[in-house]
């Protein structure tokens, strides 16, 4: 099947900075695909090239098999939800949502009907007469979504659409966006720097670093089998063990990573179960996070491990008393991820 979006060897330079370096990527039709990376990693540049706001210096872009790198944005069958929403301040909400239809000369009656449907779809019926400035951030975000979706694009591009929302609203919108995508069956291409968001929402995701693609895969693949130390560290938190420490624990000097939630924290004198990896250390920092607590533990040779424990029985006062305590860490070696393996 022809992919909805295909990039081949795409490179984009801004002066001396190479924002995107030889990126090749296939996004399948109907997929929820995330571009994940820290700021400045090239993910937004990538999205802008696909939208047509910018042109690659090298490489090709295909939309449903049609070469698109020379097409202006208005000739591409994609629509964008902007990070700052980019609603037109001089138009009402209904005029904003109906803008694309008006440009394409959809008759007023049908336009009004589809605008109403789109606003209902994002659960904002009855705000059509208002101005964007009279809406809250979350409402503006929904209007921006409706404005893009009302045109029934093949591909919807979302540039950090949830970045400006508070945590509760963000989690709610994550669920709504994925539900909407399943219902509509169109391709969502979603840029984010929030790894949790990318894991929660995507069918597949691509991890960017310094303009390069580090790894492409399903959330499970990327989380459980990170291809590089960067991916291991950026997607979730990961403890990297290498050199002599790695050899002492796992019997091999090959570097490996272990996720904080896999590690059990035991009293120093406790005996680990047979076959478990184990190491002793001292608690350096305690970060109380409400639902759970993050411990930073020095295990010698300049290596620190992060361990996360649920606060099932412990209180904030309890966990803070753990600071400076000597502990033994143990985990199932099956969770070790040997890098480059």
């Amino acid at each position: 099947m022809t992919p909805a979006v295909r990039l081949r060897g795409v490179t984009r330079r801004f002066g001396d900075v190479t924002a995107l370096r030889d990126v090749s990527l296939d996004v399948a039709d109907g997929e929820f695909f995330s571009l994940l990376g820290p700021s400045g990693s090239g993910k937004t540049t990538c999205l802008r090239l696909i939208a047509g706001f910018d042109r690659p210096d090298a490489g090709t872009i295909e939309l449903r098999g049609v070469p698109a790198e020379d097409l202006p944005p208005y000739d591409r069958d994609v629509n964008t939800v902007f990070q700052d929403y980019a609603l037109f301040p001089h138009m009402s909400v209904a005029e904003n949502v109906g803008y694309g239809l008006r440009i394409r000369k959809v008759p007023p009656a049908e336009r009004a009907r589809r605008v109403g449907e789109a606003l209902e779809m994002v659960r904002l019926p009855g705000v059509g007469a208002r101005r964007p400035s009279q809406l809250s951030g979350g409402q503006r975000q929904r209007v921006a979504l409706a404005r893009a979706l009302v045109n029934r694009p093949r591909v919807l591009l979302l540039d950090e659409p949830l970045g400006a929302l508070d945590l509760k609203l963000r989690q709610q919108m994550q669920l709504e966006l994925t539900a909407l995508q399943e219902q509509l069956g169109i391709t969502f291409l979603h840029v984010t720097h929030d790894q949790e968001e990318a894991l929660a929402m995507s069918d597949r995701l691509a991890v960017f670093r310094d303009g390069r693609l580090e790894q492409v895969g399903t959330p499970a693949e990327v989380y459980e089998h990170p291809a590089t130390p960067f991916v291991a560290d950026f997607v979730g938190v990961s403890n990297l063990l290498e050199g002599r420490v790695a050899e002492a624990i796992a019997g091999s000097a090959r570097a490996f990573t272990i996720r904080p939630e896999k590690i059990r924290m035991l009293p120093e004198a406790a005996v680990p179960e047979a076959g478990e990896c184990a190491v002793t250390g001292r608690i350096r920092d305690v970060v109380y996070l409400g639902m759970h607590t993050r411990y930073v533990i020095e295990v010698g040779e300049g290596t620190v491990l992060t361990v996360v424990e649920q606060n099932r029985e412990t209180t904030a006062a309890d966990v803070h008393r753990h600071r400076g305590r000597a502990v033994r860490l143990a985990w199932n070696p099956a969770h070790n991820h040997v890098l480059g393996a």
């Binding site: 047509g52 037109f88 301040p89 803008y99």
Partner: protein, 301 residues
Amino acid sequence: MPFRVSTALHRRPGLVLALLLAPPLAWMGVVYLGSLLALVAQSFFHLDDFSGVVVRRLTLATYRDLFTPAHGDIVRRTAVMAAAVTLADAVLAFPLAYYLARYAGPRMRAALTLAVLMPLWSSYLVRVYFWKLILAKEGVVSWAFARMGLTPVLDGVLSLPVIGGPSLSVSSLGTFIAFVYVWLPYMVLPVAAALERVPRSCLEASADLGARPAQTFRNVTLPLALPGLAAGAIFTFSLTLGDFVVPGALGNSSLFIGQAVLAYQGTAGNVPLAAAFTVVPMALMAVFLVVARRLGAFEAL
């Protein structure tokens, strides 16, 4: 605790506001509004034709005088000129302002802003009289037309009724050119400021939703620049309405409102009629603002 003025003021925000506003309000109330009211009051007096003395009794006689055909011509001529100058300045300023706001780098922007503002540093009288030299029969414009063999074109334009005249320096066209020149900075700066506030993402969103550049310009750029255009137009329109220097230096003998005011309050001693003439630009500006508001010029503010 020691007494502190700042603490005392902190507890009385109303007093702070009063202190802040007293000087400008006193100035506005007494000097500005006072003179304006005196002016408007004058326009309701009239000049006794026999004695040449102002009769201080409320009457509409002066306004009747204002609407005689000769005076009506002056008003119409000035209003048409002001509208034409405003339109020309808007058309000239927009591309420059667009470049300033959208494309120019910081250095280029500083250089261009300086270039736009620099003429304002020299006396406008001097600049207007230089235009008289530039546009004169022996001036550089005639010379340039002659060198290009286009003298017939210039003569053709000058032979047109209303805008023409014996030379550019003695024609409505020359007056128009000088007006467009002297007020151009007042249009460029507000338009550039308005365009700078248009988010790039709004223009991208318009293209993303299928609008070609011309459609984006009409539907997004222009409406969002309208407050700036309106602000610039308020300057160019009102400055042209009241000016007497440019038509005095470059025009033919037909008067503009500013010249009429100058003549009636000076040599003729007819202060009521001068005052009535001054009320005309104010009324025209009021109409202008109402129209601009109807067009939605202030909605995106």
